[in-house]
Amino acid sequence: MDREFAYSYNNYVKYGNGWKDMNPISKLTIAVCLGISSCVIQRWQFGVVLCIIGTLMAVYTKIFRKYLRSLLAIAIPLLLLTTILRQLQYAHTPGFTPLFNLLGWQWYKEPFIMSMNVAWYIIGFSSVLLNYFLNTEMKDLMLALENRGVTHVASYIMLSSMQSIIDMKKSADTILESQKARGIETDGNLIVRMKAFFPTLGPILLSAMSGTEEKAIAMDARAFSHEGGHTYLRVLRPVPVWEYILDALAVLVMIGSIAYAVLRAMQRI
């Protein structure tokens, strides 16, 4: 047996990178505050800065590939859609500064900036949240919440639902595989795949549901409802002061952004 591994549970939960090792709730506070700031400011400059920071973070925390894949899936359609829609919307509005001419289609500067503002506030927001979710294990978040008084029942429901989704995906794959083996077409266009997939839903849901009763009993056998003191094998590091300072800064940024947005709105009136 790997005793070193066993005794590593004596230490606090540690991943070895500063951002990932932060308390999930401190991290969430920062991510949410910056995300909200991006949404209320709605300036492309802010979004771009957030996105640059987020991307550097993703490189530092070694999640860059996953991060980039998800971010591009959001950013590319968003950028294309908003720019084109805004140009079409304001195509015949007089008084805008011409930007360039694309094969006879005149683009203007002001609608272009409007579209950039919209697209980048969403991209900035996504970048921050992706950094959060790709760098936070759900079990750590639940553990942090339990430390703050959330019951272990809530935590169990959350975590086991996530596992059931994984299990359901697994059984769907198994069923699809066996359908394939029996010569039923499972690859191809969307309709073919739908046709193969829908009949599997029944058995998948049934097997997921029939397991829950026995699971509940099995958890009961592990003294799940035992009262009086719960201890933890995995323990999160006590929150250091600097995390509180970072959280406070993030809250300040958010308050500043809200103030800025309010002032801007008042000026317009």
Binding site: M1, D2, N10, D220, R222
Partner: protein
């Protein structure tokens, strides 16, 4: 007074017509090792569910008769309290993994977390149990990706780690190969010497014969035979029942039929060897 005492117990699962237990009476004493055998559907698992209080607290249905644990009616027990007193290893290994832990080590520790065992002690206990159950090499694995046999051992370990005074174990070896089975029985043997009360449902009759102090044979929801191992396993009537008796006991009975009596009917290999040798020497 017996530790567990059942008198004229009948039970019907919800929405079923047939009784799963019928007019069953039996008792279990502290510190003894009981084996329960009998045909499939005979009510062995249902009896375990009752002793552990899942009936009537979890499975509703209709329960009549008296079922006392330490003199207190099962209906009056709090299930949380029972869970720290009576450990229960279930028959189906697939539903015994919590689904909320990402390593086997954490999985085995769940019961201890719930019981509030201090962390240092928790780690030591989990290490010991994993070594005992020969799952030391699995501690880093994801429990949701184990095979049936591995799950069965992990589930078994999780319950043993809780160190309850009483253990109810329902077919712990159904998914195991001969080697794994022998291993589980080694553990059961060490548990036996730790003065625990053990109630074991198992089909492998030779193993039952070797380890158990007393045996209950279940049939159609009731106890057909009960008593000390040797007494029960050498009963001729058992030959007519579907419950199996050890091959060596059948051999002893056949010798008797042929007029070549051994001095007693053996139930284990060692015993048979000794008796045959003794007969030769006569």
């Amino acid at each position: 007074m017996a530790f567990i005492e059942l008198k004229n117990v009948s039970y019907k699962y919800p929405y079923t017509k047939e009784f799963a237990l019928q007019n069953l009476s039996c008792s279990f004493e502290k510190g003894k090792f009981y084996g329960i055998i009998g045909e499939n559907g005979g009510g062995k698992t249902t009896l375990c569910n009752l002793i552990r209080g899942l009936i009537p607290h979890f499975y509703l249905g209709k329960l009549t008769g008296e079922c006392l644990i330490e003199g207190k009616d099962i209906r009056d027990w709090d299930t949380a309290e029972l869970s720290s007193k009576i450990g229960y290893v279930f028959q189906n290994p697939f539903t015994q993994i919590s689904g909320i832990k990402s390593t086997v080590f954490e999985e085995v520790a769940i019961g201890l977390e719930n019981l509030g065992v201090p962390k240092d002690e928790m780690i030591e206990r989990v290490i010991n149990v994993c070594e005992q159950l020969d799952i030391g090499h699995l501690i880093k694995n994801n429990p949701n990706e184990l095979s049936g046999g591995q799950r069965q051992r992990v589930a078994f370990a999780s319950i043993i780690a809780m160190d309850t005074e009483t253990l109810v174990i329902d077919e712990p070896t159904s998914q195991l190969d001969p080697e794994g089975t022998e291993n589980v029985f080694k553990i059961i043997n060490t548990l036996k010497h730790s003065n625990k009360t053990i109630i074991l449902v198992e089909h492998k009759i030779d193993l039952i014969a070797e380890f158990c102090d007393e045996i209950l044979v279940m049939e159609d929801g009731t106890v057909a035979f009960a008593g000390p191992t040797h007494e029960v396993l050498t009963k001729r009537e058992l030959l007519q029942h579907e419950a199996s008796i050890p091959e060596v006991a059948k051999f002893g009975l056949a010798m008797e039929d042929a007029g070549k009596h051994l001095s007693s009917i053996p139930v284990t290999m060692d015993e048979a060897y000794r008796l045959v040798k003794e007969r030769k020497g006569r």
